[in-house]
């Protein structure tokens, strides 16, 4: 297996990786303030750089399944077949800012990984398993 050239290899991660046994989890990022709405373009760029750095860390640990998507400020919500809102769906005060998919040994481990995510302001990360008939 090809390892990066860094001097300090995190042996904990290398030893515990049994990729076939790991499961996939979706991380849903909820934010009270979307970066492109509440910040200047420079601040937004800086925030996205911080986020990107964290995602690269996830990639280095070989646990990123999908970069997912960053969701913008425009939105529509349909219910009972009709349009009920213009704008993103607001759950209490939060809006979904994006999602990505990682792999981990358990949902608890996935939640621990999520603790390190550099969210913009106040937010919540929801970890969900992928549907199977068992869950």
């Amino acid at each position: 297996m090809f390892l990066s050239g860094s001097e300090k290899i995190d042996r904990h991660w290398v030893k515990n990786q049994n990729l076939k046994a790991m499961k996939e989890f979706v991380m849903l990022i909820r934010l009270e303030a979307l970066p492109e709405v509440n910040f200047s373009p420079e601040e937004e760029q800086s925030l996205m750089n911080v986020w990107e750095k964290w995602v690269e860390g996830i990639i280095d640990r070989n646990i990123l399944v999908s970069r997912g998507n960053r969701l913008g400020a425009d939105g529509r919500t349909l219910k009972n077949g009709v349009l009920i809102t213009n704008g993103p769906y607001v759950e209490l005060k939060e809006i979904i800012g994006g999602y990505l998919i990682i792999r981990a040994n358990s949902i608890d481990e996935a939640a621990e990984i999520a603790k390190g995510a550099p969210l913009v302001g106040n937010g919540t990360i929801e970890i969900r398993s992928i549907f199977s008939d068992d869950n």
Binding site: M48, L92, I101, S129
Partner: protein, 116 residues
């Protein structure tokens, strides 16, 4: 063509109240709708259907069990479609079977990452 995320929400464990026949029928409706979009080149990513397990990580790094439960619905899945604009994407979303099952669909524009 732009990409739009469709986020599906419904009551917690909607499938729990359905008979096997009803479940089959709903699965068929989804297959037809997804298949129709794929055939028209509208499906960018068939996405994921989410399970009932969850953990929620809050600002103070407190972790609670279960899916996000601030409201009485949960997210059941996300897909990505292609459309000219958000109104066209919304028209496509109107065909979603979840709308016949008490759920709702949120349509969002996608900001390509690594662009500025």
């Amino acid at each position: 063509m732009n990409e739009f995320a469709l986020i599906f929400r419904n009551d917690f464990h909607p499938e729990a109240g359905y008979s096997p026949d009803k479940l089959q029928e709903i699965m068929k409706q989804w297959q037809t709708w997804m298949g129709g979009m794929a055939a028209k080149g509208q499906l960018a990513n068939a996405g994921t259907r989410l399970g009932g397990d969850g953990k929620t990580v809050k600002p103070s790094n407190v972790i609670t069990n279960g899916p996000y439960a601030e409201i009485k619905e949960m997210i059941t899945g996300i897909i990505v479609i292609k459309a000219g604009d958000i109104d066209a994407a919304t028209e496509i979303a109107k065909g979603c079977p979840i709308l016949n099952a008490g759920g709702n669909v949120e349509v969002r524009d996608i900001i390509p990452m690594g662009s500025n």
